[in-house]
């Protein structure tokens, strides 16, 4: 069965995208990413440590761009200008690669997105030829505006970044999913496998997570759990769940032929 996630014209088998932060070391990162089956992995762009030993291993040795689609992010940026500068550097760093994850934060405590700055940055980036996947609030109107601005995927939060609180407002996500013409991915807030499955059962096209895997007791095993959860949720959505019947119990076994009956 050919069920692919298509982003900016490229098809992916996996609907799970994973971050690479907060792992113990690059080896654990590599193993967890591998177990997750993710094909798209996010990275951050940071100043190099000038005193650093140049022989030190780098993240991209563990996760080579020849094998993974590297998705540079703008985590930590609080203005459109900083986000745009960061992604121009990322494009140069990754040999002209144009698929990026835009996030412009509004507040260091909640890491909630600053949507006016996000929208401004998205417009600039699209005009410069970037393919923008955008972290956003779960406001359906703003999601539509980002889509209209040319973003290739909208990625509303399910709950705060790194909180593991799961899907707090499935109704908003549902509205965004129902109306979007580009892929919708839940980005942020997933805590465990059932959260990922619920996101997929809502009809999301994919899920992006980092902490839920990296901060599990066994990140490699959780990577695999998330892979299975995303697949299960997707399959359930494609299969179409049975109708909910809150006041109507219906036995699955025949009502006839029970032993001990007189008639």
């Amino acid at each position: 069965m050919d069920d692919r996630l298509v982003i900016a014209g490229k098809a992916y088998r996996s609907r799970l995208l994973v971050g690479t932060g907060k792992y113990r070391d690059f080896e654990q990162t590599r193993l967890a990413v591998e177990a997750s089956g993710a094909e798209i992995v996010t990275v951050a762009i940071r100043r190099v440590n000038i005193g650093q030993n140049a022989g030190e291993p780098s993240l991209l040795d563990a996760l080579p761009p020849s094998r993974y689609t590297i998705l540079p992010n703008t985590a930590g940026c609080y203005t459109a200008e900083d986000a745009v500068r960061t992604l121009r550097l990322a494009r140069e760093l990754l040999d002209g690669h144009s698929l990026v994850k835009l996030e412009v934060l509004g507040d260091s405590e909640t890491l909630f997105p600053n949507m006016p700055e996000t929208l401004a940055a998205a417009k600039t980036l699209v005009a410069e030829g970037f393919h923008v996947m955008v972290y956003c609030s779960d406001d359906p109107i703003l999601a539509r505006q980002l889509e209209d601005a040319g973003c290739v995927a909208v990625m509303p939060l399910a709950s705060l970044i790194g909180s593991g609180m799961g899907i707090l407002n499935p109704w908003n996500l549902q509205i965004i999913v129902d109306r979007a013409r580009v892929p919708v991915l839940v980005d942020a807030g997933i805590g465990t496998a059932s959260d990922a499955a619920v996101a997929m059962e809502l009809g999301c096209d994919g899920v992006l997570m980092n902490t839920a895997i990296a901060k599990a007791r066994d990140p490699v095993r959780m990577g695999r759990a998330m892979k299975l959860a995303v697949e299960a949720g997707r399959e359930a959505w494609l299969a179409g769940r049975m109708p909910k019947k809150p006041y109507e119990a219906a036995a699955s076994s025949p009502a006839e032929g029970l032993i001990g009956k007189t008639a």
């Binding site: 971050g19 690479t20 932060g21 907060k22 792992y23 990162t29 996010t42 990275v43 951050a44 762009i45 940071r46 100043r47 190099v48 000038i50 650093q52 030993n53 140049a54 780098s58 993240l59 991209l60 590297i70 540079p72 992010n73 985590a75 500068r85 960061t86 121009r88 550097l89 990322a90 140069e92 760093l93 990754l94 970044i161 790194g162 992006l208 997570m209 980092n210 902490t211």
Partner: protein
């Protein structure tokens, strides 16, 4: 002739004029995957050899690190 640069927010002094390529060598990042911004503009890798740095240039040198 001395060269004073601001690299990743810190002042650095060099004893001779440098191109971007020579700076990358001085810093020990030859062959490493880095990207460089000079005074707010990207310096494409293909131009490292021809871009001569001047006193007071502000440079950002970045790499990819783990992140969500």
């Amino acid at each position: 002739m001395e060269l004073q640069l601001r690299i990743n927010g810190a002042e650095r002094r060099f004893s001779r004029p440098l191109t971007v390529r020579e700076l990358v060598g001085e810093l020990g990042f030859e062959g490493k995957r880095v990207a460089i911004e000079r005074n707010g503009e990207i310096v494409p890798r293909s131009r490292y050899g021809e871009v001569a740095l001047v006193d007071g240039d502000r440079l950002e040198v970045v790499v990819a690190v783990g992140g969500g």
